[in-house]
Amino acid sequence: MANTNNEYVELYILIFSSVALFACLVGFIVYFVVLYQNKQLKNKQEQADLEANFRQEMLKAQIEVQEQTLTHISREIHDNITQVLSFVKLNLAMLGRQNAIPEIAENRDLVTQVINDLRALSKSLNFDYILKNGLKQTIETEVERINKSKIITATLSVEGERYALPEQSELVLFRIFQEALNNTLKYSGAQHFNIGLQYHPEMFNLSLYDDGCGFSPLEIGKNSGLGLKNMETRAALIGAKAAIDSAPGKGCSIKIALKLAEKKLHTDGRHQDRVG
């Protein structure tokens, strides 16, 4: 009987000690697992942020290189090609005075047209020109040039009292406009291209619409959709939101909305995240 009682005592002590010990161990393990999962989530978030920052930096570098290249091409066109064509025009003028051949005058007019077109192209490529004249005037110049070509009819509408946007925002918005225009001319077969600039106190909107064949966003493949993706990422770079809406047979509408309070973070010329 005494031995049986001793066995029971032993058993109770054992059970109590084991339960207490395992309760502490389980508590520690559960606490550790929860702590680890939180840490893992935090790390994943940090990694995602780093990747996003890296992508943004890569994009900024890419855009900067593009702008430098375009400026270089613009200067080459202006300094070399138009100069050479001006000499050709001058020589044709001298030949025209000596030999009154109608074809010489016709070619002189063609060369004059080429010089003017190249000067306009050079201006549209050069970001100094864009920054100096502002977004509205630069787009007006482009609209005139497009309408002269008679490929498409472009119209510009401006709402609200015009104010100056940060230089870098205007440059990026103009490049988006150029990208959209190029896409319209290349792919849409549109007759009309409407550009809208809406100057609201808290927000600036750029809207671009063509009445072309439209496209289905789902059918745009990985390679052919890069221009559209480029527009979205450029817009994001200046803190704007790009909405691209299209359907087959319904044309294409692009709206860029730039909230004026947010733009400062991205386009302040002194800010480390500035564009260009």
Binding site: N6, E7, E10, L11, L14, S18, F32, L35
Partner: protein, 219 residues
């Protein structure tokens, strides 16, 4: 031998066998663990045989305790940071010297080396806590239950703490002449749980080894 002991030996043997078959896939730490499991199996089998023939297998326990300490210390020296690594490596010869002193002068070769084993279990608990800290400081992009190091640390902490409690209980119950078979079954169950957790650690090591070696953590 009862069924728990048989299962324990089967688990150690099969894990060591699977470990050796996939030896090259494992990190250095778990290769050492596989070797330890193999030594454990051999020591257990020979120890039981000698125990039956000569009624005393304690000399094997003296040998095994030192081997286990050396291998686990080498494993954790690869896992833990430089500063801790230097400390535990520096302590190794002193501990081995103490084991020898304990065998020769304190407890004798024919009694269980509880002095040395208890101190080692304290060390293993510290290693395990530091191992958990390492997991927290350097989280991997895989779930916790797929990381071999997590199971290794869990095995160590469970075994070390329960063994500590077991020795405490054994001493208490012995002094009250209340030592019973339930305590023997308890320690056998703990051994089995330890073996199962180590097996889980080795089987999961392949998942985490590539991340840890890519990051330069424990080669």
């Amino acid at each position: 031998m009862n069924i728990i002991q048989n299962i324990y030996l089967a688990v150690i043997f099969s894990t060591a066998l699977i470990g050796f078959l996939r030896f090259k896939k494992h990190s250095l730490v778990f290769r050492l663990l596989i070797i330890l499991l193999a030594i454990t199996f051999v020591t257990e089998v020979i120890g039981r045989y000698v125990g039956i023939r000569r009624h005393n297998s304690m000399p094997f326990d003296h040998f095994y305790a030192v081997v286990e300490y050396v291998i686990l210390t080498l494993m954790y020296s690869k896992i833990l940071q430089n500063s801790v690594r230097k400390v535990i490596i520096t302590l190794m010869p002193f501990m081995c010297a103490f084991a020898l002193y304990n065998t020769l002068y304190l407890q004798g070769i024919n009694s269980f080396p509880s002095n040395f084993v208890l101190i080692c279990e304290l060390f293993y608990m510290c290693y395990a806590f530091l191992g958990f800290k390492k997991i927290l400081l350097h989280p991997l992009p895989i779930p916790l239950h797929q990381q071999g190091l997590f199971w290794l640390n869990l095995a160590q902490i469970i075994f070390s703490t329960t063994l500590f409690i077991y020795f405490g209980l054994m001493n208490y119950l012995n002094s009250h002449h209340s030592f019973g078979s339930s305590l023997v079954i308890f320690v056998q169950a703990i051994n089995l749980i330890y073996a199962l957790l180590l097996s889980t650690a080795i089987l999961n090591d392949a998942n985490s080894a590539k991340y840890l070696e890519l990051n330069g953590q424990y080669k």
